[in-house]
C-alpha cells in the first residue's frame, strides 16, 4: 500500500531515511521541472532540486504539517530559485538543453511520434521558452505554477505571498505577453494550435 505524504513525513521525522527517500522520489521530478522552468538551466535546476530536499530534511522537525508537504517543498524550491536569480543579477537565460538532437530523440521515442512532429514540438518548445524569458519573474512563476503544476489561484497566492486578485492579474498579463510573442512568431495559426 502506498503511504501518504503525511505518513512518510512522520516516519522521516523519526529518522527513517527510506521514508524521506520515498518523498524525494515522489517529488523530485516536479521540483526539478519547476526549477528548470523558473531558472532555465538544467544543471542549476538539478542543484536547486538537491538543495531543496536537503533543506527540507534539515527543516523537517519544524514542519508542523499545516500546509501540504508538496506546498512546503515548492516554497523552499521557489525561494532557492529566487536566491539563484538574485545571485545571477540578470534575467535567467532559457537555453536549449545541450546535446538534444531531434533525430536522436526520434529514435528514442520509437515510431509513435514522427520526426516532423518531434521537430515541430521542439521548435515550439524553444519558442515558448523564449517567450517566457520576456516575462517578469512574478508573472512567469504564476504561469508555471498554474499551467505546469496545476495549482489553484489560492495556492499560488500563498506561495507568492500576494492577494488572489494579484495572481489572476499576473496570469492575465503574462498570458497576453506570451500570446503576442507567439503570434509574432507565427505560432498561433489554427493548424498549429493543437495539443502536442
Amino acid at each position: 500500500m502506498t503511504s501518504t505524504d503525511e505518513e512518510l513525513v512522520a516516519r522521516s521525522k523519526g529518522g527513517d531515511a527510506d521514508s524521506f527517500n520515498q518523498l524525494i522520489l515522489r517529488w523530485e521530478r516536479p521540483i526539478y521541472a519547476l526549477a528548470y522552468r523558473v531558472i532555465g538551466r538544467e544543471e542549476d535546476a538539478r542543484d536547486v532540486c538537491q538543495e531543496t530536499f536537503l533543506r527540507a530534511f534539515r527543516a523537517l522537525p519544524g514542519f508542523k504539517g499545516e500546509a501540504k508537504f508538496s506546498s512546503w517543498v515548492y516554497r523552499i524550491a521557489l525561494n532557492l530559485c529566487r536566491d539563484w536569480m538574485r545571485r545571477q543579477r540578470r534575467a535567467p537565460t532559457m537555453q536549449m538543453p545541450e546535446g538534444v538532437d531531434p533525430i536522436e530523440m526520434a529514435g528514442e521515442h520509437g515510431p509513435v511520434e514522427s520526426i516532423e512532429t518531434l521537430v515541430e514540438r521542439r521548435e515550439l518548445s524553444g519558442v515558448v521558452e523564449e517567450a517566457m524569458k520576456l516575462l517578469p519573474e512574478e508573472q512567469r512563476t504564476a504561469i508555471i505554477l498554474k499551467e505546469y503544476h496545476g495549482m489553484t489561484f489560492q495556492e499560488i497566492a500563498d506561495l507568492q505571498g500576494c492577494p488572489l486578485s494579484t495572481v489572476k492579474t499576473r496570469l492575465y498579463q503574462g498570458l497576453s505577453v506570451l500570446r503576442r510573442h507567439l503570434e509574432k512568431n507565427g505560432r498561433m495559426a489554427p493548424q498549429l494550435v493543437k495539443r502536442v
Partner: protein, 280 residues
C-alpha cells in the same frame, strides 16, 4: 462580480478560463460571451496560448537523489553537509581515491620535470628529433629514469592507509623537492661536462623513442578502429541497399501485375465491343 460581467474585468476572465469561479459568475460570463465577440475572441486566444504552452517540456534529467544519512533530521546538523546524494557521474573526480589523485599528480609533475630537463639540454629541435637513436629501450638506471620510479613508489606507502595524510603529502613534497634539486644539479652538470651531456642525450633519445613508439601504437590502433568502422558502415549500407532493392522489386512486381491485369481486362472489353459492333 456575480450577476453581470463588464468588459475589461480581466481577473474574472482568467477565473472563468481556468474554471475557478463561482457558478453565478460562470453563468454571467456565459451569457456575456454570447453577445460580446471581443471577449469571446479574447478567451479563445488565451486558451490557444495555453495549449501552446504545453509544448514546453524540461529536458530529461538524471535525478535519483537520495538521503545517505540514517540519522534523524534533528541530528542532521552534526553530519557532513552533503547528505542528499546526487547520482554519480562518470567524470566525477571525487570517485577517485585521494592516494590515487596524489600519485597521478606526482607522476604528471615528474613527467613535466623530465620534459623540462630534456628541453633545457636539447641542442636544437630538428637536430634532436632527426638524429635521435631508436631501439634503445629505457633501462630505468639513468638519473632521469629514476624519477618516475621514485614517484610511483610513493603510492604503495599511502595505499595502506587508503587516504593521503598530511605527513604523507609532506613526505611526498620533500621527495619531489629533492628530486627536482637533483634534476637541476644534473642539468647544470650536463651543461658543464661533455660526458654528462652524452648521458642526458641518451636519456632524451630513450624518451623520444618511447614517445614515438606510443604514437605509432596509437595511430595503428586508430587505423584498425577506422577500418573496422568503415567495414561496418559498408556492410550496413550494402544490407540496406539489398533490402531497398527487394522492396522496389516487390513494388514494381505488384505494379506490373496490376497493370497486366488491367490491360488484359481492357483487351477483353475491346474485343467484346468489336465483336458486338461486327454482329450489328
Amino acid at each position: 462580480m456575480t450577476e453581470t460581467f463588464q468588459c475589461g474585468d480581466n481577473a474574472a476572465l482568467v477565473g472563468y478560463m481556468y474554471g475557478e469561479c463561482e457558478p453565478a459568475e460562470r453563468r454571467a460570463m456565459d451569457q456575456h460571451l454570447l453577445v460580446c465577440p471581443a471577449c469571446a475572441a479574447e478567451i479563445e486566444a488565451l486558451g490557444a496560448t495555453r495549449i501552446q504552452l504545453a509544448a514546453w517540456t524540461p529536458p530529461e534529467a538524471q535525478l535519483g537523489f537520495r538521503m545517505v544519512s540514517d540519522s534523524a533530521p534533528s541530528d542532521i546538523r552534526r553530519l557532513a553537509p552533503s547528505v542528499v546524494e546526487r547520482p554519480p557521474r562518470w567524470w566525477a573526480l571525487s570517485a577517485i581515491p585521494a592516494w590515487a589523485q596524489a600519485a597521478a599528480a606526482a607522476a604528471i609533475f615528474a613527467a613535466g620535470l623530465s620534459l623540462g630537463v630534456w628541453r633545457g639540454t636539447a641542442p636544437a629541435g630538428p637536430a634532436l628529433t632527426g638524429t635521435a637513436p631508436t631501439g634503445t629501450a629505457p633501462t630505468g638506471t639513468t638519473a632521469a629514469g629514476t624519477v618516475p620510479a621514485a614517484t610511483v613508489a610513493a603510492a604503495p606507502a599511502t595505499t595502506s592507509a587508503n587516504v593521503a595524510s598530511a605527513s604523507d603529502l609532506t613526505a611526498l613534497e620533500q621527495r619531489l623537492r629533492s628530486e627536482m634539486a637533483s634534476e637541476l644539479a644534473l642539468l647544470r652538470t650536463s651543461a658543464a661536462s661533455p660526458a654528462a651531456s652524452q648521458t642526458a642525450s641518451a636519456t632524451e633519445a630513450q624518451i623520444m623513442s618511447r614517445v614515438r613508439a606510443l604514437i605509432d601504437e596509437s595511430e595503428q590502433r586508430q587505423q584498425r578502429v577506422l577500418a573496422l568502422r568503415t567495414a561496418q558502415v559498408v556492410r550496413d549500407f550494402d544490407s540496406q541497399r539489398r533490402v531497398d532493392l527487394q522492396n522496389v522489386r516487390s513494388i514494381v512486381g505488384q505494379m506490373e501485375g496490376t497493370t497486366g491485369a488491367e490491360i488484359a481486362r481492357q483487351q477483353q472489353t475491346l474485343q467484346y465491343l468489336m465483336r458486338v459492333s461486327q454482329e450489328k
